[in-house]
Symmetry: C2
Subunit: 296 residues, 2 copies
DNA sequence: GCAATATAATCGGAATATCCGATTGAATAT
DNA sequence: ATATTCAATCGGATATTCCGATTATATTGC
């Protein structure tokens, strides 16, 4: 068994097609064919049913699939750990959605460094699809994001309820006042939010929409405008009083999730990392709650 | 990365010597040398410090070691699962010490078959060293034995307290009567027992010693003799009254352990298997307890 | 210091495996 | 029928692996 055979197998499963798998792997189709054939010979079982519409997994292939994922992850992880400086004895990597990155990353790194100083940490921020891909490939051990796609071999655990509150830099006003509607910024908080938002405010016009929340915050600081934001992003402005929640405006909820492998390379370490995230998040939520309470 | 490179790496770690590793793997020393070298080149790190006394792991090699064990186990497991008949979707294998085999194996297989009918089961009985080797190589998922050797990457969990009671086929007697000393069979219940037994009865002569308990039971049935046995092995004879416990004789305790991998290929399935063992054992212990109570 | 010994690295050559590019073959849609 | 879309196969170039023998190196005993 060569790891490239496993990678090829997984790519064929993912694309359902020898030719596309060959393209993605930068080899010829005949090479893919040969790799799969030798894997099948070694295992003594057909892994794919080849037909007009590409390749479909056999039952035996399906049984290989889960282990294949693990093998790829494990080898990725092994290469990574071996490459570490000798002062470390293992590694843990965390990926965080861009919108949560700033708040979670540093406290978590500090927490981990205190609890496990010989663990090398790797942190990255990206959008959900990138995080999922890295999770699948074993580059990430844990990811934090909203609205994850369900995936075999991954545990999804809710761990953070976020409140999206309508904030404004207009003078204190009620949702009925409609002052806040002047210069409204629509922040893209994901599919669930878009749906809820549209049904609540079907006729609301926005002067622009922001993909990244920090843009919206900056805009609010410099203009009399309104936007849906989690309280923690405008903590400073709330304290100053420059930003106020719109009274009686509906609050949207959003659930942050922890995603990690069902079969980790190092279960103890993974759970330490998760514990760190929960602890860091609890602190974050407590702060936010106090602030929201004070502003109401 | 070829799996043979990992196997070779692990064998060199185990023997601490390229030549012995070559012998065990049935290849030449130059092949072992080349395999390790190519692995080192791929990883960009030296894995061993070569010296007069063989090969010692570097820090980087040590970081590879744990993953190497997992890789070997995982591939072993994958090959096994792929080879399964299509009616099954995964597999679980249990190894049991010879002395516990008969009592645990069948109930566990029945329990598992009821709870998870699509899981292919593999059961084997052997002495502890064989079980440990198979556990290490990924052939076994769970082992049940007394006095396991501590090993990296394995969880050891106590789950069964066994009482070794002095039984006799002489007429009912007290330990002070010394009738029972005529024709005493010393059963080898392991190192701990030997030690405790010797200090308790330093001058006790035995007519023979038995490595396998069933031999001792058979001997007791056919001769007026005595031996230390767990009650469950002489349940039938206790009910008939042909075998009696020696009153006031000290009871020796022995702890049965569950051993399994810290990083299993399929955690859910593993824990189902463990649950089955605990359930089966609880039943066994309850029966034994009732019987011992009745006999006293 | 000098063999004797044990260990791993290296080298040359044979065998084997891998990969590519082109072709073939099979199944399906038009 | 014909075109299209897949995967299998073949031939040849290249790369890798393996063995057997030799070499290099460090340790031990004398």
């Amino acid at each position: 068994m060569h790891i490239d055979q496993i990678r090829t197998f997984l790519e064929v499963v993912a694309t359902g097609n020898f030719n596309r798998a060959a393209e993605n792997l930068n080899v010829t189709q005949s090479t893919v064919s040969a790799r799969i054939r030798s894997l099948e010979e070694e295992l003594g079982r057909a892994l794919f049913e080849r037909g007009r519409n590409g390749a479909r997994l056999t039952a035996a292939g399906d049984r290989l699939l889960r282990h294949g994922h693990s093998m790829r992850r494990l080898w990725q992880r092994a290469r990574n750990d071996v490459a570490l400086p000798d002062a470390y004895d293992s590694s843990l990597s965390l990926g965080v959605t861009l919108s949560l990155w700033e708040e979670i990353e540093l406290p978590w790194v500090n927490w981990m460094h205190r609890e496990a100083p010989t663990v090398s940490l790797h942190v990255e921020a990206d959008y959900s699809p990138g995080l999922m891909r890295h999770l699948r490939d074993g580059i990430l051990d844990i990811a934090v994001m909203y609205e994850p796609l369900q995936m075999q071999e991954l545990v999804i655990e809710e761990f953070l309820r976020d409140e999206l509150i309508l904030f404004t830099t207009h003078p204190a006003c009620d949702v009925a006042d409609e002052i806040w509607r002047q210069d409204y910024v629509l922040v893209d908080w994901g599919e669930d939010f878009r749906y809820d938002h549209d049904s609540m405010y079907p006729d609301l016009v926005h002067s622009f929409s922001a993909g990244l929340s920090s843009v919206a915050v900056q805009y609010l600081e410099q203009n009399a405008a309104s936007a849906y934001l989690p309280a923690r992003l405008v903590m400073r402005q709330l304290k100053k009083g420059s930003v106020r929640p719109v009274r009686n405006a509906p609050v949207f909820e959003r659930t942050g999730c922890l995603i990690y492998s069902k079969s980790p390379a190092d279960g103890d370490l993974l759970h330490l990392g998760l514990e760190g995230l929960r602890s860091v998040t609890a602190e974050l939520e407590a702060q936010t709650a106090r602030l929201v309470e004070a502003a109401r």
